[in-house]
Each structure stands twice: as C-alpha cells, then as structure tokens.
C-alpha cells in the first residue's frame, strides 16, 4: 500500500470501525485513534516528502496511477507536492482537534463521528488527487456530509442553513462540473487522447476561446467554496448553525478546497482565461476582502463575525491567486494554511464559550478574561494572529500576498493591492471590538462567575491548533521554502503558455 | 345535386356540432349531436358506403345516443342549465382550435392528393368477406379483438353500473 492511498483508506477503516462501535465512549476513542494515525501519517509524509524531494525533482511525488473508468480515461491518479503535503498536515491536525472538541457529543455520537470522518476522507482524497475527475468525486464526498452534520447536529435555524449551504455548494459544483468537462474535452487540443490528468493537460495548449469560456466556470465553481463575494452568503448562516467541530473543519479545511482547486485547476490549466478574466475576479475578490472586513464590523454574533472574517481572509487567497505571481501564490497557500489553523481555533474557542455561557452574542458577554482566563487569553492570541500580528502565521501569509501582488506592473493591480492592504486596518477594528466588548470590561452576568474549567481535551484541541500557528509565524522559512519550491513548477507551467 | 346535398349536410353538421358544444342544456346538446351523427351517416350514403351508413345510424344514432340520453335523464333535470367555462378560457381554446384548424387546412390544401376517379359501390358481402377473411388483407383478428372488447366493455359497464359504492366511508368525499 502506498503512502498516499493510506490517507483515504485509514479514514474509511475508521468509519467502518465506528459503524460497529457502541456509545459515545467507544466512538470518540476510535475516532481519536483514527485521527491520530492520520496525523502520524501526515507528519511521516512530511519527512518522506523532504527525503524524496532531495532526490526527485518531478512536480509530483509518490505518484500512482490506476485506471478505474476506462471509457472516459478516468484514472485514480494521485501524487503530492509541497502544497498538498502542507494541506494534508493541516487537515489531519484540524480533524484531530475537531475530534477532541467534539469529545462531549451526546446526540448520536457514532453517526456524528462517521460523518466527520467521511468529510475528512473527501478532503484527503481531494488533496492527493491529480486527476480532475477523481478530484471532483472526492470534492463531492467532502461537501455532502456537511448537510447532515449541520442539519442534524446544528443549532438555530439548522435546516435552513444546511439547505442553503448545500444548495449553494451544489450549484457551484454543477458549474464546476461544466468547467471540468470543458477542460476534459479540450484536453486533446494538441492531438492525443482526452485525459483528466492535470499534469498532462497542463502541457496541452487549450484554445483561447475555450479557456475564456471555461475559466470563469471553473473559477466560480471552486471560489464559491472559498467564499468569493457575492457567493459567500452560505458561510455566515452555515457556520452559525453548525456544531463546533463542523465549523472548524469547514472553515479550517473545506473552504481551503476552493482556493486549492482554483490554484491547481483554474489557474494552472487555464492561464490565458485567467489573464483574460483576472480584472473581473480581482474586483470581486478585493471587494470581498474589504467587504468581509466591514461586514464583520457590525455583527454581534461571534460566529458571524468569524464567518465574515473568513470571507475577508479567503478573499485574500483568491486575490493572490489571480495575481499569477510566484510570491503571491505562495502567500495564498500560506494564507490557506494559516487561516485554516486560525479559524479552526476561533471556532473551537467560540464553541467553548458558547458551551459555557450559552450565548454567542458579544453584547451579552463581558469580562470573560476574569471568569475564563485560559480561553480568553487564547482568544486574544487568536485575535491578534487574525489581525496579522508578526510572530503568527497570518503575518507571513499576508506579507507574501502583498509583496507578491505589488510586484505586478499595472496600476490597476497595484490599486487593488492597496485596497486589500487597507483591510488590515479594518480587521484590527473588528477584532479589537470583539476583544474589548467580550473579554474585557466588567462581568455582565452573575451566572458567569461560576463556569466550568477547561478540560484536558479542550486544551489539547487548542494546543494542536495554536502550536502550528505560532510555529509558522516564528520560523516560516522551511514551510515557505517548501511551498515556494512547489509553486515554482506551476508558475513556470503557466508562464510557458503565455 | 350531390354537391348541394353535401353542402347542406356539411352546413347542418357544423351548425349542429357548434350548437352541441355550446348549448347550455344537456338534452339539446345530445340532440344536436344526433344531427351531426345523422349527417355523418348522410356522408357515408353519399359516398356509397351504405352499410357503413346503416351501422352509423343504428349504432350511433340509435344506440349510443339513446344511451347518452338515458344517462342525461338519469342525472339531470331537463331544464337544468349547464355551467359554462370562463370566457377567457373559451377564447383561448377557440383561438388555439382556430390556429390548429388553420394549420390543418393549410397542410391539407398544400398536399397534392392522388385522387383515383371511381364510382365503385361496395356491398355488404365485400365488407363481410374482408372482415372475416383469414388471408392477406383479412381483418379476422381485429374483428375478434373488437368482439372481445365489446364483451369486456359490456361486462364492465354492468359491473360498474351495478352500483356498489366506490368507497365505503363517505366522509372522505
């Protein structure tokens, strides 16, 4: 069994084991063990990647290729580069943290963990695939459990939110499918057979007209998941209704699929289309950056604030990807990782606060620093990380994006960059607003004075997310170099087409 | 002569047909239909299909119409006025029918039919031979099928008409 396929097999085995488990205790132990194995594999993969990279210069490592649907030349083709390795690591950490955070799921625990791990399977599969069709299949596997997770274990108007989220994402995948098929049917533009393999398609000169037509479809198809303005509205409602671990996984990992897909497929395979359309999508994504930040300014529900902040941060990812520039692309990858840890941490903390105080309305909270110091301090740290404080992952990601985007010669791109940069100010405002209202000040509610202490599994979950975030921020070089090396062939591939 | 007869018949049939579908009294409607059916029989006579005309008169004008009249009498008061459709619906339907008619006629008139001049008279024996023949062009099988069908319909009609209630509990209605 090769090192990558295990990423799909282990969660599936965990799911099977879960099916035969009884009760919460068994379910969570099994999920925890499964997720631990995943994390171990991800770390192992990281080292294996470094060893392999030293001797192997091809774009993708550990590649495997098996035909599974001959008529359409669909392969189970897998392989990773530095980017997918990093994202796999992110996924495994967030999944494990998510399991810890859902330690106390009382309601249908077995089914909950099964859905969670099915979702994880989809995400893992998506990150390792290099075949468009296989990728799409895994993408759908990842998106579907969301409906159940929110619809069953959610809170508030959960059916509505689940429906909205699923419908919008499904709508997007419909558009995406058209784009993917468009790419597929143009993959023999230089002669040869039709193929879904990304690496092979990238060598083909897809006609300009086709690129122009299919780029927006592919881009929007993925970008909806990446909360592109104005298709972001599923995100606030969805996150608000979702249970904690699901919010974490969704914002932390699933939304990254959008950016990753844009990078791997839309930008890489359709570069001419990307250039043709970049002005339009840059306007959208830069709007999203500012708009999300301003949107967060006025909200009072913690999850809404965080959801809008995600719109802003992930807008930055799309914005960077559209710049077609190595540094900016690297920044986009780093931002994906950084936002993954950060937002998962945020949602975990929000879940803990909500679990204790039973409200997410910041105007009803106050003085939490006094009553739950640990969670509050971590919230402050997460907040500071989110506003791009040096020493945390967000800073290096944003700086890469800004420096990269600013390398663009044209005035339009520069102005868009400056507009995006201005979001850091607004971000500071809304983060500090939350900190000021919620954590500081006097304790507003007598009941808050006697709240349960943090538990070991909550601390573990938090630390799992916090440590990589600080690690990335303090010593970014190795990670940044790893992703930068992997971005290299892609940007080169794109430039070859111009 | 025949031409005039045809036109008269056609006029009667059309007027009667229109009257039949627009009359607000059930029984009149049926009687107008009777005129149309008789007109059809007249057409059959005109083209020398006497047997057919006779069948038309007996089965249709004689049988079916009587059946319908009975049912009308069973379920209606004589003077009862029927409820009519909304004007808009009538207009739309009329329009659609007129357009359809236009399409039909334009197709018919633009088609060049290969008419064979003849004045052949068909007698009953020909029809009987055709219907009961086993050979090529024989219609024994459909004939039998129709017979069975008629039988089945008859039994069905009796069973339905016998009057067991469709549903036992009336409160669902």
């Amino acid at each position: 069994m090769d090192i990558l396929s295990l990423f799909v097999i282990v969660p599936v085995l965990t799911v099977i084991a879960l099916v035969f488990s009884k009760g919460l205790k068994q379910a969570r132990i099994i999920s925890m063990i499964g997720s631990f194995i995943q994390l171990g594999m991800a770390i192992n993969l990281l080292f294996a990647y470094f060893r392999e990279r030293a001797i192997n210069k091809s774009v993708m490592l550990f590649t495997q290729d098996t035909v599974w649907f001959k008529n359409f030349n669909v392969h189970y083709a897998i392989g990773v580069d530095g980017i997918s390795t990093a994202l796999l690591l992110l996924t495994s950490i967030v999944v494990l943290a998510g399991v810890f955070i859902s330690w106390k799921t009382d309601d249908l625990p077995k089914e909950f963990f099964v859905s969670l791990l099915v979702l994880a399977t989809g995400v893992y599969g998506f990150f390792i695939s290099i075949d468009l069709f296989t990728m799409f299949v895994f993408y759908e596997i990842a998106v579907i459990p969301m409906y159940l997770l929110i619809g069953i274990w959610g809170s508030g108007p959960k059916e509505y939110s689940a429906m909205k989220l699923t419908l919008m994402l499904m709508g997007a995948s419909a558009v995406l499918l058209v784009g993917v098929l468009g790419i597929y049917f143009n993959s023999n533009a230089d002669g040869g057979v039709l193929t879904f393999n990304i690496l092979e398609i990238s060598k083909v000169h897809i006609p300009f007209e086709a690129q122009k037509l299919f780029f927006p479809l592919t881009f929007i198809g993925f970008a909806v998941l990446g909360a592109l303005f104005p298709f972001h509205t599923w995100s606030p409602d969805g996150h608000a209704s979702a249970p904690t671990a699901v919010s974490m996984l969704h914002a932390g990992v699933l939304m990254k699929l959008g950016g990753y897909g844009v990078f791997r497929i839309a930008m890489f395979l359709l570069p001419l289309g990307a250039i043709e359309w970049s002005w339009f999508f840059i306007i959208l994504s830069a709007t999203g950056v500012i708009y999300g930040a301003f949107g967060a300014l006025k909200q009072t529900d913690l999850k809404y604030i965080n959801a809008y902040s995600s719109v802003s941060h992930l807008g930055m990812v799309l914005f960077a990807l559209l710049m077609l520039n190595k540094t900016a692309w690297n920044g986009a990858i780093l931002q994906s990782l950084s936002h993954g840890f950060m937002t998962a941490l945020f949602f975990a903390l929000i879940g803990m606060i909500y679990g204790r105080t039973h409200t997410r309305d910041i105007t009803k909270l106050g003085g939490l620093l006094k009553v739950m110091p640990f969670i509050s301090v971590i919230y402050v740290i997460a907040g500071l990380a989110s506003l791009g404080l040096p020493g945390f992952s967000g800073f290096i990601a944003e700086m890469n994006i800004f420096v990269g985007a600013f390398q663009h010669e044209e005035m339009f791109y520069r102005v868009a960059t400056i507009i995006s940069v201005s979001a850091i100010v607004v971000t500071a405002v809304y983060i500090l607003r939350v900190l000021g209202i919620m954590l500081m000040g006097e304790v507003k509610n007598e009941e808050f004075l006697d709240l349960p202490k943090v538990t070991w599994f909550e601390v573990t979950g938090i630390m799992l997310l916090l440590i990589p975030m600080i690690g990335m921020g303090v010593a970014p070089l190795w990670l940044s170099n790893m992703t930068m090396d992997s971005v290299g062939p892609f940007i080169q591939g794109v430039l070859n087409h111009l | 002569m025949e031409k005039i007869v045809f036109y008269i018949l056609a006029l009667i049939m059309i007027v009667a047909a229109i009257a039949s579908v627009t009359s607000r009294q059930m029984l009149r409607s049926v009687i107008y239909l009777l005129f149309v059916l008789i007109g059809v029989a007249g057409i059959y006579f005109l083209i020398d299909y006497n047997f057919l005309a006779a069948v038309q008169l007996t089965v249709y004008a004689g049988g079916i119409i009587v059946l319908v009249i009975f049912s009308v009498l069973l379920v209606h008061h004589i003077e009862m006025e029927l409820e009519m459709a909304k004007l808009s619906k009538k207009l739309i339907t009329g329009l659609v029918c007129l357009i359809g008619l236009g399409v039909f006629l334009s197709v018919i008139y633009s088609t060049n039919f290969n008419v064979v001049e003849n004045s052949k008279t068909t007698d009953v024996s020909d029809i009987g031979m055709g219907l009961l023949s086993y050979g090529a062009g024989g219609f024994i099988l459909p004939f039998e099928v129709i017979s069975i069908l008629l039988l089945a319909a008859m039994i069905g009609a009796i069973i339905i008409g016998k009057g067991d209630k469709l549903t036992k509990n009336d409160d669902t209605l």
């Binding site: - | 579908v21 059930m26 038309q56 059946l67 006629l105 018919i108 039919f113 068909t122």
Partner: protein, 105 residues
C-alpha cells in the same frame, strides 16, 4: 365519390368538426358533454378514414373496417363511460368535472 366535391372540401369539413370537438372537450364542464365532444372527434376521424379509402384507394376497404372498429370502440367506450358517470352520480350526486377532481388525490 361525391360528384363535384373534392377531397379537400370533405377534409375541411372533418377538420372543422374535429376542432369543434376539441373545443367542446376542453371547455365543457360536464362529463356527459365531454363525452359528446369526444363523439364528435371520433366521428370526424371516422369520416376521414372512409373518405381517404374512397378517394385515394378505392380498391381496398381498410378505411371502412377502421370506421367500423371506431364505431364499435365508441359504443363500448360510451357504454363504460355512461356506467361510470351514473355510478359517480350515485356517489356524489354530480357529474361536473370540478366535483370529480377529488379522484386525483
């Protein structure tokens, strides 16, 4: 053959009858009236069979046979329809279409 009358005129007549039947079928609100309209349609097409047989293929009798079949089927259909209508009337004391819509549930 009717002397002096072309096939076109007869077709015109039958087409008119046919569409009057359709008009009636759609607009009438009473089951028996619908049945009557149906008879109109059937007759119009029966005439067509016969006419085509007579004018275009005088040597065979298929059209006639079909007419006979149509008459037979019409008779059967009417018998059944009348039976249903009467039964319905017993059940709900009405033969208006709108009252029978209950059946679709």
């Amino acid at each position: 053959m009717i002397a002096g009358i072309s096939i076109y005129e007869i077709f015109t007549l039958t087409s008119i009858l046919f569409f009057i039947g359709i008009y009636g079928f759609i607009t009438r609100k009473n089951l028996i009236s619908i049945l009557i309209s149906l008879e109109l349609i059937l007759n119009a097409s029966a005439i067509n069979f016969v006419i085509i047989n007579k004018y275009l293929y005088p040597d065979v009798l298929q059209g006639v046979f079909f007419s006979i079949f149509i008459i037979a089927v019409a008779a059967a259909e009417t018998a059944l329809a009348v039976a249903i209508i009467i039964n319905l009337y017993r059940q709900i004391s009405s033969v208006e279409v709108k009252d029978t819509e209950i059946m679709k549930y």
